[in-house]
Symmetry: C2
Subunit: 411 residues, 2 copies
């Protein structure tokens, strides 16, 4: 039995094979959840898992768990994972590096003939991105009980197809209940998706928590009318209300930009949304986030006020259909310390960092002790086909992933 080591070339070949499935704009991927290309990468991933001697099972929302037996299988597994789906203009690393990095950990253990005490599990969560079905992180959210099984399956894309229908179509409506089994702990390896680590020359980001974020889905209702003769003072154009809210959210983002805050106008749909007729319906998705929870709360309050003001200016009604919050100090101190210690022991340049994006780990943290490991990505570019990492960017984080997984699984 030798010491397990990450084989970066083996990992990289797997990343490159994944990048052949669901190609998008040059260099990028467009592998939307439960699409044909998502099926294809899932099939290939399961093949890889089988070849590595893992036992795979699929739950009722398509989450894939691949288990490597330990010497005491009565103990809860150490779980490593992320997601294989991408945005419509996504990169080849976001999420993917976490799933295939977990696979590389298992392969490294096999090569070294290392049998851990506790079982290990790799997980690929369904629809992390929310690039096709809203909300994002719905697979992990359903697993931990934040979202109900039927509610999750009933989420629909813009063409009216549901998660349940699409899971059945691609053969991933599993028979395992989508209810949580016990985890010893959960580690998610992920690219930073921000410019901090790359700018600072840091090799491993120790994720201590997340930006406090509040997202909002708002519906505005007005009245259709002619775009010509109808007097301004009688207009109830829901598109105007929606546009005013998104501008306000952008303004709020700018007001807090100096201290790291962001305000995002993410989505606007309206009906009829045609020349010649005022729209009587519009929906927007927006969010605000800030590293400081108190500032984040002020931003969220300003968004709430802006919703009412935007509706009033356009003489429409507004209804908040959904809000979601995440972030804060949600990770397990013990695991965060473990990640930091492993990175320092390896001699990697290391810094503590907050995640600015949402991750499945945020959901899993409700269920079991959780931590994340960040790798730098060039200029922080992501959700874009130009997203870029090299082997050298990812290798240190993979080493740390292996180390912390072993420490936990062998104890």
């Amino acid at each position: 039995m030798s010491k397990p080591v990450i084989d970066v070339e083996r990992f990289w070949k797997t990343i490159e094979r994944s990048a052949e499935i669901g190609g998008g704009r040059p260099g990028g991927l467009s592998r939307l959840a439960l699409s044909d290309s998502d099926r294809q990468v899932r099939d290939e991933f399961i093949e890889w898992c089988r070849a590595a001697g893992l036992n795979t099972r699929i739950d009722g929302v398509g989450n894939i768990f691949a288990r490597r037996a330990g010497s005491d299988n009565s103990l809860p597994p150490v779980v490593l994972g992320s997601h294989l789906d991408t945005q419509v203009n996504g990169g080849r690393f976001d999420g993917i590096a976490g799933v295939l990095g977990a696979l590389e950990v298992c392969r490294a253990l096999d090569t070294a003939n290392h049998r851990t005490r506790r079982p290990l599990e790799i997980v690929n969560w369904t629809n992390e991105e929310g690039g096709r079905f809203s909300p994002p992180m719905v697979g992990s959210g359903c697993f931990v009980g934040t979202y109900g099984l039927q509610w999750t399956r009933d989420r629909r894309d813009d063409d009216g197809k549901s998660i349940g229908e699409e899971l059945a179509r691609i053969g991933y409506l599993g028979d395992q209940p989508a209810s949580p089994h016990a985890f010893d702990c959960y580690f998610e390896f992920h690219i930073e998706q921000g410019p901090v680590l790359d700018r600072d020359g840091t090799q491993v980001g120790v994720v201590t928590g997340g930006y406090s974020s509040t997202g909002t889905l708002v519906e505005f209702r007005g009245e259709t009318a002619h775009t010509g003769p109808w007097p301004m003072e009688r207009r109830r154009n829901a598109l105007v209300a929606a546009a005013r809210l998104l501008v306000a959210v952008d303004d709020i983002g700018w007001d807090f930009a100096g201290s790291g805050g962001k305000g995002t106008a993410a989505r606007l749909v309206a009906w009829p949304n045609k020349p010649g007729i005022l729209s009587d319906w519009a929906q927007t998705v927006c969010d605000v986030r800030h590293p400081d929870p108190a500032s984040a709360a002020v931003m969220a309050e300003r968004v709430r006020r802006a919703i009412g003001e935007a509706a009033a200016r356009a003489n429409c009604t507004a209804e908040v259909l959904d809000t979601w919050t995440w972030g804060g100090r949600i990770f397990a101190d013990e695991l965060v310390d473990l990640v930091r210690a492993a990175s320092l022991r390896r001699g990697y340049r290391t810094q503590d960092i907050l995640s600015q994006a949402g991750h499945d780990a945020y959901m899993v943290a409700h269920h079991s002790p959780t931590a994340m490991i960040f790798a730098p990505c060039r200029n922080g570019i992501t959700h874009n086909n130009l997203e870029l990492c090299t082997r050298e960017d990812l290798a240190p984080g993979l080493d740390v992933l292996l180390d912390v997984a072993l420490t936990r699984a062998d104890r």
Copy 2:
């Protein structure tokens, strides 16, 4: 030979039959151009024309001409018409009253055994509304040469179907060239689609021209990125640029509302337009209009400036893909005077009025002497299923339509 008279009950029955085809929200119609219901009403309209002894033909963009022979068929016809298509939430009178009113004029002449000297023609223009294919008034615009035949046929709806394909599908891709034959003149009877006549108790609106209007189709380009970590100062969210423009256009409308101006945010589409990713593409359609051409020019100039400002604020690029202007004193004085005189002779309460909406008559005015006759509609509500007229609202305008058609056709 008796004196021809409008039979309002006969007209009303035809309106009611039309209102059974393409039902939308309660009381309204959703009869989009070249849809199955547009085919059905066209089929029925042609049946009615045949029963009235008219000779129908269809041109290369689906405009339907139905000709009633005169005693001297070498003379150009007096043409009456409008459109049978509606907005997705449309009423049962907008456009339809003009086509079926022209039919009633022909029926009244038949009943009275009146053969005019010049031929009469009824026309139903294709896709006046632009509620499915942009731009609006494309059938009349192609007829008069503003738009090319192939360009017109290549216009596509949001599902990618073209006017040419849809004309062929519903059997209305005619073999007549879509090139103008000579008109003696053109009269369009239409509901006002504004609140003026109804408010003032006016029975017949003498349309002296149109509000000066400028519409703009703008495309913004930015860059996709993550909605979380990406710093505000690096964001190039095309959705923000588009929203900022629409808010500016609404503001411009309000600034000129006191003198009758309007600014309309009509349409916004973006891509990917999803939670989690910034949009790198957006298109907007907006317009401004004012009764005073000089004020309208100021409004249009402010829109042009707002396009650049909106793009700059969001660090995007903007390109004006199309602009369109209409309105002004485009109608023939001689015909406008004729309409006014006919109305006064009948003893109807009459007023001169500018049209605030676009109409096929604006296009036809480039081709031949043109005038419009407005009827009041309740509260000016239109492009809405609550659009409402009674027999009494429409009968005076129909009488005037008959009178002016006879005066012109018999001279």
